[in-house]
C-alpha cells in the first residue's frame, strides 16, 4: 500500500490550476490597463515636482480653511449622532436571535441598501435632492453610519448569551425591560467600540464629501487643487491630518473612560 516514498498529502490539481489561472489573469489585466513600470517611473518625477510646489505650505485663505474644517467636524458629529440613534433600533430589529423573520428581513434589506454605496456616491444623490451644502453631507454620512452600526450592532446582539436573556425573561419582565437588562449590558462595550470607530470614519469621510459639493473642507480642498494653489492644498491636507489625529485621541479617550469604568467595577 504506502511503502517508502509515499506522499503525505494528496496533490490538489484544482488548487494548482487555480493559482496558475490567477497569475495569468493578473498579468493580462495589468497589460490591458497599461499598468507598467515605465509609467510609474515617469510618474515619480511628476510627483516630486508636485511635492516641491506644495512646500512650504501656505494658508492662502485662513477663513475658508477654518469654516471648512469646522463644517466637516459638525457634519461628522451630527451624522454620527443621528446615524447611531437610527441604527440602534434597526440593528435590534435585524438580530435573528431575538426577532421574528418578518422583522429581520426588512431591517436587513435596509442595512444592505445603506451599505451598498460609498458615501461619496450617496452624497452625490443627496446633493441632487437637497442641494449643495452640509445638509447633503450629513444625510450621506448618516446613511453610511446606519449601515455600519446597524450591521455590527445586529451581529453583536446575535452573539450574546441567551441564558442571561432567559433569566430576565423568567422574572416576567416586559420586552423593553428584557432588552435594557438582558441584552444591552452584554453589547454595551462593543457598541462603544464601533460607535467611536464610526465617528472616526465619519470625520475622515466628512473631509471628502465636500468634493461633490456636500459641505465641509473637501470643497475648499478641491477648489485649491483646481487653482493649482498647491501650497494651500498642503496646508489643508496638514490641517485635515491634525483634525483626524485629534479625533482619534478623543475616540481613544472615550473608549478609555468606559474601559476604565469596567475595570473599577470588576475589582
Amino acid at each position: 500500500m504506502s511503502g517508502p516514498g509515499a506522499r503525505a498529502f494528496p496533490v490538489n490539481w484544482w488548487m494548482r490550476a487555480g493559482w496558475i489561472a490567477l497569475a495569468v489573469y493578473v498579468v493580462y489585466a495589468a497589460s490591458r490597463l497599461e499598468f507598467t513600470w515605465a509609467r510609474f517611473v515617469v510618474g515619480l518625477g511628476n510627483g516630486a515636482r508636485f511635492l516641491e510646489r506644495m512646500f512650504p505650505p501656505a494658508i492662502a485663505q485662513p477663513d475658508s480653511l477654518a469654516t471648512g474644517l469646522l463644517e466637516s467636524l459638525q457634519i461628522a458629529l451630527l451624522a454620527s449622532f443621528l446615524g447611531i440613534v437610527i441604527a440602534l433600533p434597526v440593528g435590534l430589529l435585524a438580530s435573528r436571535n431575538l426577532m421574528p423573520v418578518w422583522a429581520t428581513w426588512p431591517a436587513r434589506v435596509a442595512i444592505a441598501l445603506c451599505r451598498s454605496f460609498h458615501p461619496v456616491i450617496v452624497a452625490i444623490l443627496f446633493v441632487k435632492a437637497v442641494g449643495f451644502g452640509a445638509m447633503a453631507g450629513i444625510l450621506a454620512l448618516m446613511v453610511a453610519s446606519v449601515g455600519f452600526i446597524g450591521k455590527l450592532f445586529a451581529e453583536a446582539i446575535e452573539e450574546i448569551s441567551l441564558k442571561q436573556v432567559e433569566a430576565v425573561r423568567a422574572t416576567g419582565a416586559s420586552f423593553a425591560n428584557v432588552i435594557t437588562y438582558g441584552v444591552l449590558p452584554q453589547v454595551f462595550t462593543r457598541f462603544i467600540g464601533f460607535a467611536t470607530y464610526q465617528l472616526d470614519s465619519n470625520l475622515r469621510n466628512s473631509t471628502m464629501v465636500g468634493i461633490v459639493g456636500a459641505g465641509g473642507i473637501g470643497g475648499t480642498l478641491f477648489s485649491a487643487f483646481q487653482r493649482f494653489d498647491y501650497d494651500f492644498v498642503a496646508a489643508i491636507l496638514l490641517s485635515i491630518i491634525a483634525m483626524i489625529m485629534v479625533g482619534e485621541v478623543l475616540a481613544g479617550w472615550v473608549r478609555g473612560v468606559f474601559l476604565e469604568k469596567g475595570k473599577v467595577d470588576a475589582e
Binding site: 441564558k163 422574572t171 416586559s174 470588576a266
Partner: protein
Amino acid sequence: MSAPAPALELRGLVMEYTRGNPVLRGIDLSVGTEGLTAIIGPSGTGKSTLIRCINRLVDPTAGQILFEGKDLARLGGEALRHARRRIGMVFQEYNLVERLSVMENVLSGRLGYVSPWKAWMRRYPQADVDRAFELLDIVGLAAFPNQRADSLSGGQRQRVGIARAVMQQPQLLLADEPTSSLDPKTSVEIMELMRELGRSQGIPVIVNMHDVELARRFADRIVGMSGGRIVFDGPPSALTDEHLKQIYGGEGWLH
C-alpha cells in the same frame, strides 16, 4: 404533605421538541403550598424540560399547568408575563447579567413591575431597594452590592441568582440543577439557603437535581423521573435502592 389546595398542579403534561418524540410523556404532579420537592432522574429524562415548562420558558405540547387558578399552558403575552412574576427561577449556570452589578441583578427580580423608563434609569421604589439589601444580607453578600456579577465566584453568583428569584416575591420557587456547577460544600450551603428561604417566605420550592444524596438530605418529597414519566413519588425515607434502579437503570453504580 397533605396540603388543602395545591400551589401547582400539572395534568397530563406532554412536551415534544420534535414531533412524535416526546421528552415528557404525560406528567401528573401536584405540589403543595410548602416544602421542598426534589426531582431526580438520569440526564436527558426531561427534568429540565419539566421545570422550564412550568414558567413556559419552553412551551408544552399538551397538558395543563394550573397555578393560582390559571392554566399557564394557555397564557400568552401580558397574562403570561404576570404569571411569571409570581414564579421565581434559579438556574444551573446562575444566568446573571454578567456586566451588571450584584444590586442591579437582584433588583432585576422586580423588572416585571417597573416601567421601562424607570428600569433604564435604575429608579426602583425604595421599598424594593430596602428589600434587596435585606436579601443580600440574608444570602451573605451584604458587602458586595456594587461589585460586577462576573467578578464573583460560582457560589456567590448562585446566591445572587437566588436573591434575584426571591426578590420577585414569588409564590413558587423553581430551581434547575442549582448546584450542578458547584463544589460539594457550596452545594450544601446553596441547598440550605433555598430550603430556608422557601420556609421563611412560606412558598413551595421545586428543585431538579442529579445528586441523590443531596436530594435525600434536603427534600421533603422526592419525585423520580425516568424516560419522561414519573416513576417514584414519596418522602426521602421511602426511596429505596430498588427505586433508584428503576429510575437510573442498572445497579453497578449503587455501591
